[in-house]
């Protein structure tokens, strides 16, 4: 229906004087074909591998449909250990990065607006410096007792998550009236900690959720540093296990993928509900 209305509108435009009418219409139809083909090829390129991965996960060695790979997964040697190691690393990374970043981002927004450009630059650096080079330096520079611990990876992941976490917080802080909130809370006698916990964090909820999800997705999928630091996290286990049973390994890979995507969908949905709220407030 909507497209019909748009078509009528297009006809009106075409009927207007001074526009070479027939040529314009041919142009439009040709353009529509072209777009359909592009979208179709793109959809095929992005969906076929997904389909293939899922199909392989739900097949047994004879090519029949089967749930055996998914069912067998939790019982495989090393899977549980790798999974919990990844979860522990994720929790430690997340705690560290939030404690480090939330007060810093708020402080910079409130007191040091001139430092924001520098923060933009510093937090983008982990994208410029490849993880493979960073881990090379970290493994050399870290003291021995730290190198013996898996949590060295968490310390490194904090750096890798800078771009995602800072960007989310920066967007969230720009969207609220930070100064008014802080001044109101302080003049009512709230301490800085109280202001942070009871005023700012509730207002930054959706920024914090998106920072959390992006950090967890990063830690659960990180392969380079974990493999070179010789810790069997989930992705490293999956890679090693493919020699034992490719179906089970692929099932594990696809399950983590689907899990991560579900988490990321949460961000998108939250984003949208927040922008709707913003629109409502703007109308009032």
């Amino acid at each position: 229906m909507a497209s019909l209305v748009a078509d009528i509108a297009a006809e009106d435009v075409l009927a207007a004087p001074d526009i070479p009418c027939v040529r314009r219409r041919r142009l439009l139809t040709r353009f529509r074909y072209w777009r359909g083909i592009v979208l179709l090829i793109a959809a095929a390129y992005f969906l076929i591998p997904l389909y293939a991965g899922l199909r392989f996960s739900f097949q047994n060695d004879y090519g029949h449909w089967s749930l055996y790979a998914v069912k067998a997964l939790p019982a495989q040697t090393g899977f549980g250990a790798a999974f919990f190691l990844s979860l522990r690393l994720g929790a430690v990374t997340l705690g560290l990065v939030l404690v480090l970043m939330v007060p810093t981002a708020i402080y910079v927004h409130l007191k040091l607006p001139r430092v924001r450009r520098l923060m933009d630059f510093v937090t983008i650096l982990p994208i410029v410096i490849p993880p493979i080079v960073l881990i090379l330096g970290i493994l050399h520079a870290a003291p021995l007792w730290l190198r013996a611990s898996p949590y060295l990876l968490s310390l490194a992941y904090v750096i890798l998550s800078y771009p995602f976490v800072y960007r989310s917080l920066d967007a969230g802080l720009s969207a609220i009236d930070l100064r008014t909130l802080v001044e109101a809370s302080r003049s009512l006698g709230g301490s800085f900690v109280r202001t942070l916990l009871h005023v700012l964090i509730p207002n930054l909820r959706s920024a914090l959720v998106s920072a959390t999800v992006l950090t967890l997705a990063l830690v659960l999928g990180e392969f380079t540093m974990a493999q070179l630091d010789l810790w069997t996290t989930l992705p490293v286990w999956i890679y090693q296990f493919q020699q034992d049973d490719a179906h089970v390994a692929t099932a594990a890979a696809m399950l983590t993928l689907v899990g991560t995507w579900l988490l990321l969908t949460v961000i998108v949905l939250l984003d949208r509900s927040q922008s709707r709220r913003a629109v409502r407030q703007g109308l009032r």
Binding site: A2, L100, Y107, P126, I129, Y239
Partner: protein, 271 residues
């Protein structure tokens, strides 16, 4: 502020400085240019050449394809389509490593789904010189996260392309081709180059996908650094890894500077 600064210096500054310093030290700790000389010759030089080549291939091709796709979506009417693609691009652009490797083995491996479909029409790619576990296989797989990355980066720039310009060009009798050649592409060019530079950096730094897909057999610089770290090295070359890392940092620093310059030019049209 202070804890953040200290953490960043310790976690990012010190390791990076260590890589650069050790690139110029011999195994006994003396200052030397031997490591740098080693990595600019022989197999390590080949690694750099291959890395640069794969980065060029997987920035130019997905750069163009990403622009076409972004334009097709940008000019479409469906707002649902736009939202789905925006969300999917955000997810896929940060995708890579083991999951992507397995999906492509299941798709284009010797017994993959697409391989089977193509053999039905007599076009089994493996019989026509294609090998997924090779240099060009890696390039094909990189498209999967490079195209969405380009869509993400270029879409805001498409907003700078005013519909009025196209109408003005058509009113003056310009063909679609002429419009793109004299108006559209020149306006988009800085943003396109900026996007391609980002793709270049992302392909150049990628390790996990190439390592898991080829089991470390493809000669790329990141893979060679991994080999050195894992101890698969010729004796007496322990510090060569740092020189390789230093080389990567130089390439990426150049890319970053070019990106900043191009961005400055591109922002003119985005006001």
């Amino acid at each position: 502020m202070a804890p953040f600064a200290i953490y960043t210096i310790l976690g990012l500054g010190v390791p990076t400085a260590a890589v650069i310093e050790l690139a110029f030290r011999s195994n006994s700790g003396k200052v030397t240019l031997a490591n740098v000389r080693t990595v600019t010759h022989g197999v390590y030089r080949l690694g750099f050449e291959n890395s640069l080549l794969i980065s060029v291939i997987s920035s130019v091709i997905p750069g163009i394809l990403g622009l076409v796709l972004a334009y097709a979506i940008y000019t479409s009417r469906g707002s649902l389509l736009k939202r789905v693609v925006a969300a999917a691009s955000g997810v896929l652009a940060n995708f890579g490593g083991i999951n992507l490797t397995f999906m492509f083995i299941a798709t284009l491996g010797t017994t993959g789904v697409l391989t089977a479909w193509m053999s039905v029409v007599g076009l089994n790619p493996w019989n026509h010189g294609f090998n997924l576990y090779s240099f060009y296989g890696v390039a094909v797989v990189y498209l999967y996260f490079q195209i969405p990355l380009m869509v993400l980066v270029i879409t805001p720039a498409l907003g700078g392309l005013r519909p009025a310009w196209r109408e003005a060009a058509e009113n003056l009798g310009a063909s679609s081709f002429r419009y793109w050649r004299t108006v559209g592409l020149p306006v988009l060019l800085p943003s396109m180059l900026g996007g391609m530079l980002l793709l270049f950096g992302s392909a150049f730094a990628a390790y996990a996908t190439a390592e898991t897909l080829t089991a470390g057999t493809v000669t790329l610089t990141p893979i060679q650094i991994g080999d050195v770290l894992n101890g698969n090295l010729i004796s007496g070359e322990q510090n060569v890894g740092y020189a390789l890392g230093f080389g990567m940092l130089i390439v990426l620093a150049v890319v970053m500077v070019l990106y900043i310059l191009v961005r400055r030019r591109a922002s003119r049209w985005l006001r």
